[in-house]
Symmetry: D2
Subunit: 253 residues, 4 copies
Amino acid sequence: MSTARTDAEVRVVVWNEGVHEERNHPEWIRDIYPAGLHGAIAEGLSEHLPQARVRTATLASTPDHGLTEEVLADTDVLLWWGHAAHEQVDDAVVERVHRHVLGGMGFIGLHSAHYSKVFTRLMGTTCSLAWRNEGERELVWATDPSHPIARGVANPVVIEKQEMYGEPFGIPNPDEVVFLSTFAGGEVFRSGVTYRRGQGRVFYFSPGDQEYPVYHHPEVRKVLANGVLWAHQPGLERLTGDELGCTNPPRRF
Amino acid sequence: MSTARTDAEVRVVVWNEGVHEERNHPEWIRDIYPAGLHGAIAEGLSEHLPQARVRTATLASTPDHGLTEEVLADTDVLLWWGHAAHEQVDDAVVERVHRHVLGGMGFIGLHSAHYSKVFTRLMGTTCSLAWRNEGERELVWATDPSHPIARGVANPVVIEKQEMYGEPFGIPNPDEVVFLSTFAGGEVFRSGVTYRRGQGRVFYFSPGDQEYPVYHHPEVRKVLANGVLWAHQPGLERLTGDELGCTNPPRRF
Amino acid sequence: MSTARTDAEVRVVVWNEGVHEERNHPEWIRDIYPAGLHGAIAEGLSEHLPQARVRTATLASTPDHGLTEEVLADTDVLLWWGHAAHEQVDDAVVERVHRHVLGGMGFIGLHSAHYSKVFTRLMGTTCSLAWRNEGERELVWATDPSHPIARGVANPVVIEKQEMYGEPFGIPNPDEVVFLSTFAGGEVFRSGVTYRRGQGRVFYFSPGDQEYPVYHHPEVRKVLANGVLWAHQPGLERLTGDELGCTNPPRRF
Amino acid sequence: MSTARTDAEVRVVVWNEGVHEERNHPEWIRDIYPAGLHGAIAEGLSEHLPQARVRTATLASTPDHGLTEEVLADTDVLLWWGHAAHEQVDDAVVERVHRHVLGGMGFIGLHSAHYSKVFTRLMGTTCSLAWRNEGERELVWATDPSHPIARGVANPVVIEKQEMYGEPFGIPNPDEVVFLSTFAGGEVFRSGVTYRRGQGRVFYFSPGDQEYPVYHHPEVRKVLANGVLWAHQPGLERLTGDELGCTNPPRRF
């Protein structure tokens, strides 16, 4: 018996386009991510959430990149990694994912997913940013270490080599800024932000890249596990498309 | 010389789909809106902002529903009324308007424009609501009468007959809730809300319908004029599409 | 085993000044609240949260109005009802409660507690409002029925007789507006709002008055029980005063 | 004739406790601030806002630290610098300043004023932070360079030597985060944040210290001038204490 949220019934899908892995780009990607970026992310979640059901899917998964209506209806939290192939994601799938988020599915956008079709659609803005890939040290600071996503995480998280993502970040004013990152080159980035969109909870977390082993970092894994528990809303009645539309109630009072 | 904002250089476009007028639907629409909904809205703005340049355009305007790149680049604030023909608005025009808002053009969504392509794209959510059209009295209350959009406006604004729009309203948490409306039937609605999106300021204001002479209401006209001045950002350098993208700065520090 | 939050370990204190009860004001207060306002509130919480530990205290409780350091350190969520005797609450107790909220204790302000020393201190604003006591019908609408505090609650909650509280409500822009109330007289009020303050979660809920049996209303009781679970943060490490101060870390990077 | 805000009618008071100057602490304070911190701040404002009326006052000013009812009623924006003598500020003066901010006076808190009585009262939280005084380089980045306070300011502002202020910063979730600072030691801070409190606009800006000539920095001066214009609300009807209280309107509808 516990009053804290647990992982007992969390149903997770880690989606990765999987294109960098196919192209062996960078050349060392299979050295650091032998099971793909999605494999490393899923492994980290399973470490922290041993009872959760964690599945993966990629752009090449069939049908529908692995994101059918049935799969999404059976998913509490979807994590999304994409970079080189945003445009190849089918618009009907984007529409479906978007609808499920508004209906209550949690969504975690990872790193270059800032430019994914789903995330930009949820935000309604450019989601553009400044970037520089020189393997700089990133420090990830919590503005509120007691936030459920930051709890139990080192403050700061030290990532020895990362791509720099910097401000201005073209997003709507977040509901919460959980993490702020600084880089060796002096830049700053709102690296962990949350939004409520419809019934769904959205978390964007920028650390993580195909060139660096960031998804093996124990503290990054802890953040993502916390994010999954935060985005999961046990007991929520998920809505489908029709129920998300307008209603025309009679006068009652 | 004054330190307050004035209307001297505000360039406004009032866009209306104009379909109800064409269809004479309702039958009395030409009685209450002889110059169309856009005509009445533009008239009200010109009353309050005599030096502003107020133009109108409709779905039938050519080319591009009257919203070419040249027109938008020459517009400080765009007001949008639509209801029956959201789907007929060309996606390329929607894309263009969206880009100009993110680049700094003000946008005011009116009444049933909650479901317009531009507004839902800016919001990223369903924008659905409850509605009932029985000509109920609407009272529009300011949560903060000193807000620039509410200043000098009766509190409440009393609208004798209106369509009811009620919660839940499927929008992101607004930056500001300026107005809350109650209806004779007891419902409530966040009827005046603001957002910052990119460099642009967005205001949604729900009073106004093709069946009722709401856009002749002096207080509603005052709100819209205030809204135009609020959404206008004199001195702002408007960005175009390219400048809204990612940047790749060298290391400087 | 469930992943939802439960009441198993929630330690609650319902605080009520208890002055109206002492004065028999109104004359019928003992008819509707034989165990005091605090008694009715506590009863409702225990109905919904049978495993929670619910205690009560009043202005007359000794020492320190029942709110010693030991009691607060042993409290997860404090509910506060006050009206006639805000000024009689000892400033040292206010300071203590404020510190515990910032350290992570949940706080629920009820009705006329909008003017309590603790609530106004947490808000930093006037917290003033419009009021009229004519026993009007209040309808309490959820802006988002899936919010944890609104979940499972009738929408709207219908309260046959209540004091009217209306806008403008002099509070900071809330993190979330969970409920909006309308009154028979047409007024509107942000009747359920949430804030994060320090590590603590704050919920203000306006329905409830010494003249009406609102705290016996089943839906109001459900809201308060939901509010307690929402304000409770299982697993949070509570901070004490010293830990809330500035730190002077050495350079590490 | 311009529609942009100008400085023609801005009435500014720069308040500085003036204690470091009296104590010659640090020894070189008179070298970098011969006219006091307030003198340098006022000089910078006058450079950018030549038509503004800029006055100064200190803890030693009589009566009431120079902040009488008459002075405040004649002030549009008050800037506040304090560090060593927060406790010596008379509570009645704090109450008065607080009331004027809620009534519509702009307030700009500077650097160590995070711990001033007025600022903590407006925030309702600890306002604590991490600090280290080793003369580190601070980079001040705009999250939105088009914000009125950031407009025309170098991005980033480079301050060669400054005290480090770092997260977690114990403030409520800001309405806007305008600036984020990074430090040579890798820390991060929300160094420019805005709030609406009552009718007043509040801006906190952290750069500036008694040991470094930060208030001579041209870009810092530009930020403060922008902040003054932003916090000033021309045409606003200032409220006094009585008008900030509750109202008891009759039923009208």
